[in-house]
């Protein structure tokens, strides 16, 4: 803040303010008018869907959630429901709320800039565009019966045969005993978090410098690292599934990851 105040004193701000009436009100009115026209025409031409009456005994295949939740449904392929449907969405919401408190970069407040906040924008872009939006697109257009992958132009074959050759990672590593598989899985998952947090630390240290990390503080760093590493666990699991047919990394009597 001190820098900002100093800068302001150096160059006295010119009064660039304009009257809300008519300048802002005019823009708002025209845009609202335009959108209302488009919405009305769209509603005249395209009817909202209404299928046959609700029938709890007939499950359609595939059953899809509303499109804005298809990202979550798509995550169910890679994680169990308690994680993909409850824990991760909660972390998304909490993580979004955290943004203003963990981002201490004073630059880029109130104007567009990429140069002054590259990592912040790239992270948001990765989470929002790459993960959230593309998962919705996959769920909407590329998933058919049995939640199998289909091209949009492909016929939905309900009898499509997909080999379910998925194995758990400890099994692949040679563990056959249930107990030691669990221990191995626990070590792998915890190891991932520790290793990735360390890597995140070194990465930030390299691009932002020591002075920044001191200003950032331990609490902010740990929260950011947890959110960041958790976000990356989705592509990590996707990679394990698609490349090695890994079902779970960690199997316990209570939960599987």
């Amino acid at each position: 803040m001190a820098e900002v105040a100093e800068e302001r004193q150096k160059s006295p701000v010119v009064d660039d303010k304009i009257h809300t009436w008519p300048h802002l009100v005019r823009v708002e009115f025209l845009v609202a008018l335009f959108v209302m026209i488009v919405l009305t025409l769209w509603s005249v031409v395209v009817d909202a869907p209404l299928e046959e009456p609700a029938n709890p005994t007939r499950t359609p295949n595939p059953s899809k959630a509303p499109w804005y939740f298809l990202g979550l449904q798509e995550m169910l392929v890679y994680f169990d429901p308690w994680l993909a449907g409850v824990v991760l969405p909660s972390l998304i919401i909490v993580g979004l709320m955290m943004i203003p408190f963990i981002d201490i970069n004073q630059k880029g407040n109130g104007y567009y800039t990429f140069k002054e906040r590259k990592i912040e924008i790239l992270t948001f872009f990765f989470g929002f565009h790459i993960l959230w939006v593309s998962m919705i697109i996959i769920g909407t257009f590329f998933r058919g019966p049995g939640w199998n992958l289909f091209w949009p132009w492909q016929r939905w074959d309900p009898h499509k045969v997909v080999a379910l050759a998925n194995v758990d990672l400890p099994y692949l590593l040679g563990f056959r005993d249930y107990f030691w598989s669990s221990v191995c899985g626990g070590v792998l998952v915890l190891g991932y978090f520790v290793f990735a947090t360390l890597a995140f630390y070194l990465w930030i240290l390299r691009i932002k410098g020591k002075e920044f990390l001191e200003r950032w503080g331990m609490v902010r760093f740990l929260i950011t690292a947890l959110l960041f590493v958790t976000m990356l666990s989705l592509p990590a699991k996707m990679f394990l599934r698609l490349a090695f047919n890994i079902k779970y990394v960690w199997v316990t009597p209570w939960f599987n990851i």
């Binding site: 009257h19 809300t20 009436w21 209302m36 909202a48 869907p49 609700a54 709890p56 499950t59 509303p66």
Partner: protein
């Protein structure tokens, strides 16, 4: 023509007219300010705004459009409420009635649905824009938090409304969308550690949401009340806070 001018003058200078509309369209700086500050609809705005904050290139108009979509759903939603009964026996028949027999019924339903979808898209774009301009940075941190809550409420509004047509699309989409609640750790009967709490199929997080173990008439009523009363009320409250905070924390960033 002269008569017309006189008539116009008689009306706009009558006591009744002046009682309702205080300020004309006179183009003076004083009147421009009064137009905003003395108008209940416009006084959310400051009398003056920064030049760059008005440009569409800067705001994308997304926040305002999200609110506009909210208003459209409120207006069309009230119209639909006149003809729709949230009872399993009637709900689907009422949908058909609404589509085929009600004047403008289909149009109102279409506008309600498409504006709800547009609201979801606009609120995401609004969030993206606010992120890009860094408009969540001090002193506006709290307003970003309120905005995230509004984003969640927008999704919940859309989701609860999805069930109401009571057709195959709606009950299965809502079934799939809320199956995850069964797996809530501790609180869902299929979730980890459910035994510790004693959650079971008719007494867990999803049963609380559904009003019973399976989706059914009780769920329809529950979602209807959430959709038409509870969530809109909470949303309106948070919208008021959101708008108030925009004003208090100053409009559209400092010119650095």
């Amino acid at each position: 023509m002269k008569k017309w001018e006189e008539l116009k003058k008689d009306i706009t200078e009558s006591q009744v007219w002046r009682a309702i509309f205080r300020h004309g369209y006179e183009d003076t700086p004083r009147n421009r300010v009064l137009m905003v500050t003395a108008n209940v609809w416009l006084h959310l705005h400051p009398a003056k705004v920064r030049r760059h904050g008005v440009r569409m290139r800067f705001t994308w108009c997304m926040g305002g459009l999200t609110f506009l979509m909210f208003l459209v759903t409120v207006v069309t939603g009230i119209y639909l409420m006149f003809y729709y009964r949230p009872v399993a026996e009637y709900a689907y028949a009422d949908m058909k009635y609404l589509e085929f027999d009600m004047p403008f019924g289909m149009l109102m339903r279409n506008m309600h649905r498409w504006s709800a979808h547009a609201m979801v898209v606009f609120v995401w774009l609004h969030m993206f824009r606010v992120f890009l301009t860094g408009s969540y940075k001090p002193p506006r941190e709290f307003n970003w938090v309120v905005g995230v809550l509004l984003l969640v409420l927008t999704l919940l509004l859309s989701f609860t409304g999805y069930l109401l047509p009571w057709d195959q699309l709606s009950i299965w989409a809502v079934t799939v969308g809320s199956n995850m609640a069964r797996a809530t750790p501790l609180l869902g009967h299929e979730g980890p550690f459910a035994e510790l709490v004693g959650a079971n199929p008719i007494y867990d997080a999803r049963a609380f949401l559904f009003g019973g173990g399976e989706i059914g008439p009780h769920t329809l009523l529950r979602f209807y009340i959430l959709h038409c009363i509870f969530i809109p009320l909470v949303t309106s409250l948070l919208l008021a806070i959101h708008f108030w905070r925009i004003r208090r924390d100053s409009f559209s960033g400092p010119p650095l």
